[in-house]
């Protein structure tokens, strides 16, 4: 019969696990970035008006290839290479070794759920159930207002703004 693990042994194993985690984080995650915004696009070149290569969503993992002026060149698990703005991803603060080549971009449902812990939809629903007097109708309408990249590009061009400044 297997003896139950002693309390001190359990502490030791936890210590080892924690160290293993730190090592894995440093080694495996060093060149990985994780999408932290709801949705975005991987772009062909490092600018917002560049052609979209593939759609990305919160939790997607990407391998960092290079960086340029706030943009990160990344590779998806499917091997698609493109650019993403650094404000769209969570970036490890230092960089040691290359990322696991077999890493999957598709995030498991459990990981998404854990990433969504904290003040989330469930907490909002609970708040709304308690505060019927606070309406979210206009908040949803506000969030539904869309400005397409092509509209911004046209607006900037006509207004001689951004990269189109000084244009005739």
């Amino acid at each position: 019969m297997e003896r139950p693990m002693k309390k001190s042994n359990r502490y030791v194993s936890l210590v080892l696990l924690m160290w293993a985690l730190v090592v894995v984080l440093v080694v495996f995650a060093a060149d990985t970035v994780v999408v932290k915004i709801q949705t975005t696009q991987l772009r062909k070149s490092p600018q917002f008006f560049s052609q979209a290569v593939v759609a990305l969503k919160a939790g997607d993992r990407l391998t960092r290839v290079s960086e340029e002026n706030g943009w990160i060149q990344v590779k998806t698990a499917a091997g698609i290479v493109g650019w993403i703005h650094s404000s769209a991803v969570e970036i490890p603060k230092f960089n040691l070794l290359a990322m696991d080549k077999d890493m999957k971009t598709q995030t498991k449902a459990s990981e998404v759920a854990l990433a969504g812990k904290g003040f989330n939809k469930q907490v909002e629903e609970s708040y709304r159930a308690k505060h019927g007097e606070v309406s979210f109708i206009w908040v949803d309408k506000m969030i539904a207002i869309k400005v397409l990249p092509v509209q911004i590009e046209d607006f900037l061009k006509k207004g001689k703004l951004g990269e189109f400044r000084g244009a005739k």
Partner: protein
């Protein structure tokens, strides 16, 4: 005792390790260990809980959490003000705002930047966390060209980028939240947890709304937002003097509209103009007004009633 000390030491070391990487990366590392069979599901949960417990400040609030806080703050702002329902003008304000956001230091935000006009003559602009920004009709009337409107919006985008709203949250509330999250790794909250979190959420909203509407930001945040407004505006090629032109309309204004909202809580217009002039003088090149922008501004603003 010795084991407990070792455990504490390990936690400290883990804390240092985790502080070097972000939340998603922690989850990812834990999953890698779990998938390769190096740790059990139970250990995975323990490590995730520890990761949550190590969050401690406003800077540790995740993008998605900021979004949900922002939605509720926006709902509370909208319970105090009516919306000015003018689709074409609202769309124009959204295009100007989103154009500026692209040249800010936070162009990508969880659910994007969104702008609404509030139907009041009060002079006010408010930025909820997560990029939901409000500007009053009264304030719009003071803008005489697109560059002035852009710089006012840029000031609000500055508040969002610097997370000034989140900084209004009392630290004790955040510690309470992170403690609850650290106690459970389940995918959905149990009723007792949810009720605790909802109560803290209410207090978080009160902290932010109190700061935004009643007390106003600390002056240092207002000056920082002014500075960011000039930076983002100039990067977009808007005339940064738009903001000083707007503030000039406020000098010596003792009307009741000016006495409420933004200007009750902000430093005086003269103080801000002085600092802004110095900021603009420090730019390597200062973009100028373009007539083509003022013309389209006047076209859209002709529908402002």
């Amino acid at each position: 005792m010795r084991a407990a000390r070792t455990y504490t030491l390990a936690l400290v070391c883990l804390g240092l390790g985790l502080s070097l990487v972000g939340c998603s990366v922690v989850e990812q590392g834990v999953n890698v260990l779990n998938q390769t069979g190096q740790i059990s599901d139970k250990d995975k949960d323990t490590l995730l809980k520890t990761g949550e417990a190590l969050r401690s400040t406003f800077a540790d609030i995740k993008e998605e959490e900021e979004y949900y806080i922002g939605r509720a703050v926006a709902a509370l702002i909208l319970s105090k003000y009516s919306v000015y329902n003018n689709d074409s003008l609202t769309q124009y304000v959204n295009i100007v705002g989103n154009s500026l956001a692209l040249y800010s230091n936070r162009p990508e935000i969880y659910a994007g930047y969104h702008f609404l006009i509030l139907d009041t003559e009060e002079l006010n602009a408010l930025a909820a966390p997560g990029g939901m920004i409000f500007i009053t009709k009264g304030l719009l009337r003071r803008c005489k060209d697109e560059d002035t409107l852009a710089l006012v919006l840029s000031h609000e985008i500055g508040h969002v980028c610097a997370k000034h709203g989140l900084q209004a949250i009392k630290k004790s509330r955040l510690l309470d939240v992170f403690k609850i999250l650290g106690s459970e790794a389940a995918q959905r909250f149990a009723p007792a947890q949810l009720s605790q979190l909802t109560a803290i959420f209410e207090n978080v909203l009160a902290d932010i709304v109190g700061q935004l509407i009643e007390r106003g930001y600390d002056r240092k945040y207002e000056y920082e937002a002014d500075k960011l407004a000039v930076t983002f505006g100039a990067k977009t090629a808007y005339d940064p003097d738009g903001i000083t032109r707007f503030l000039q309309t406020m000098v010596g204004d003792t009307s009741s509209a000016a006495g409420k909202g933004w200007f009750r809580t902000h430093p005086t217009p003269e103080q801000r103009i002085d600092k802004l002039k110095a900021e603009i003088a420090g730019l390597s090149s200062v973009p100028k007004l373009e007539n083509v922008r003022t013309l389209r501004f006047k076209q859209y603003f002709s529908s402002l009633r």
